[in-house]
Symmetry: C2
Subunit: 338 residues, 2 copies
DNA sequence: ACTCGTCTTTGAATCGTTTCATTTGTTACG
DNA sequence: CGTAACAAATGAAACGATTCAAAGACGAGT
């Protein structure tokens, strides 16, 4: 009683064969009402709970989908995760979330773990170069969908948002305000970030006399943003950029904190500031933050859909869905456009 | 090759017995160097990956810990979850996170799921009345630790923060500012929230002429806060409270958005506002938000420690750890104290 | 050459399900 | 009354790892 009862215990207690108990659980129609009642009663009395490990072992597959994100603390990812969970639940699956924290070894750790768990599939927002590993996974029958990053459709499916376009929109917006000396804050080693940077550089290239410096941040968190912000505050005012584009809202909020802390810098008058992701907290910032909105629910939902397609096709057909980002203008970039 | 190789395949390929392969994996010392090399080579060639289901089945236990939180989107919980994950990783376990969304049926769903997975233990931030269910779990050998809620030490362990004290601190602070007509915003059906409310009421009882109305919000999110805020804005100014205490920062930020949107209400002059949790975003709000800080890392870490203790004692000894919250004063409650 | 002890290796048994070919039971019909 | 048709129940055989008693290999000591 103290230890969990097995299906065999239930069978003994209900005076039936183990197969019958299994049928009650999985194919209730095959069992007569009378037997069913008896078995269910025994299940309740013994407090029987299915052993998922045994079930999986037999089935050869779990009902589990692995999701590896760059940072669960980032509302962008928790929103994507939530959407994916909901979509998966509707299909009778469960999503396990792993947080790589932008660390390639933690990412690898979770990939190994999920492989051992024989997950149905993997949703991955990659840190490093994972193309080879994904090939391996596919060979081993673990379909993978890249999330928030475009993939070759030869290799695997992906859902993403056009980061170049988003970067372009952000920088173009800053330039349209009349700002010429821009700064980009982020960690370009992440592919999404470098795409946003490229887009921004394209916009800068279109406007004569405009420049953009790149400030590499230590991570993509509020804290990292604060550090960059402090560095900006310490600069000679003439050396400060006129506008700052942060590769996500967390960074932007951190930068904002530092800039506004000592009231030496005014936003947007002295420095216009724009983030990326349009998280819920952007609107309620000290200075409501302009941002680039991404459709998080659609990302999460589509990721699950694509995974289902991969499974159906046996991992042969891949599809890349790309959403379009949207500029959201708020006070942090208010000001007379030229 | 396309399908995953089993330990038996490896054994054949390396010309050894299955037991030897298992030993290479689990007790490398028992195996001679020569054999080990050969087996490892076969493992690499066949791309063998351990099947966790089979391992668990045999072991009777998984290396998994279940964590059910009220809302992963809430930075408070994602921070606790992160700390718990780190602590668990150090012990060689993995944390699976389930989001109940403050819904008792989703909570039950995850409890069932984790039970089927035969988790090592459960960390639970409960929505409804779970005491009975916890008794059942304990009987079935699943130790449970309540997170962010005090428990009878007869039944199970718990890590929590003194919510009454936190509520008292918040309300007392508002009263000390000279405010007399307070409002409390939250969902008192959640135990943590009702404790905070009780603490606040204790403070109000200490100050003559002071009152506090209770505004029941639909959830504990930014959106729910916005709704309450809108209702306050629509009130006749004379009917509005002089100070508002929200049972968490998300609600407070939502209320703040509504109040400051139309600039009809000034914070803190017209309404002083305080939240709870002191999430990272509180400091960078339109009006930097006063709050009650909780030690999230300590909560997560301690939860795992207590779970380990439960396991060692076989679920007989329980312990309740209670941390003390801390008032953090920012601009949203600035003003001359009386 | 033989025994003893140590170090390796073996392979059958086990964990708890699901599956499926068989057996058993029941009803209907000629 | 015999049997065909169908429904319900059975139980042995997987699934893939770990465990452990037993067997095998090998060198040292007598």
């Amino acid at each position: 009683m103290s230890q969990t009862a097995s299906i065999k215990d239930v069978a003994n207690h209900a005076q039936v064969a183990v197969g019958t108990v299994s049928n009650v659980l999985n194919y209730p129609d095959r069992v007569s009402q009378k037997t069913k009642d008896r078995v269910l009663k025994s299940i309740a009395e013994l407090g029987f709970v299915r052993n998922d490990a045994a079930r999986q072992l037999r089935a050869g597959q779990s009902r589990t989908i692995g999701l590896i994100v760059l940072d669960v603390g980032n509302p962008f990812f928790s929103s994507v995760a939530r959407a994916a969970e909901d979509a998966a639940t509707a299909l009778g699956s469960v999503v396990l979330v792993g947080d790589s924290g932008q660390d390639a070894s933690r990412e690898a750790h979770y990939m190994d773990l999920f492989q051992e768990q024989r997950v149905q599939g993997l949703l991955l927002s990659p840190v490093g170069d994972v193309e080879e590993r994904i090939d391996t996974l596919r060979e081993r029958g673990v379909p993978t969908v890249l999330v928030d990053q475009l993939a070759d459709t030869d290799r695997c499916s992906s859902v993403s948002v056009d980061d170049q376009e988003g970067g372009y929109l952000a920088a173009r917006h800053l330039l349209d305000l009349g700002r010429r000396r821009l700064a980009f804050v982020g960690t370009p080693s992440i592919r999404q970030v470098s795409s946003r940077l490229e887009g921004a550089q394209r916009a800068v290239a279109e406007v004569p006399e405009s420049t953009m410096e790149v400030l590499d941040s230590a991570g993509q968190t509020v804290l990292a943003g604060r550090q960059v912000g402090n560095a900006l505050v310490e600069r000679d005012p003439a050396e400060r950029p006129e506008a700052v584009f942060c590769s996500n809202d967390l960074l932007a909020l951190g930068v904002m904190q530092s800039l506004t802390m000592l009231r030496t810098v005014r936003i947007p008058e002295d420095i216009a500031l724009i983030g990326y992701d349009d998280i819920d907290f952007a609107i309620s910032a000290v200075v409501p933050l302009s941002s680039i909105r991404q459709p998080t629910e659609a990302l999460g939902r589509t990721a699950i859909e694509l995974l289902a397609e991969e499974q159906e096709s046996g991992g042969t057909k891949h599809r890349a869905v790309v959403f379009t980002p949207e500029l959201v203008v708020r006070q942090s970039t208010a000001g007379s456009p030229n």
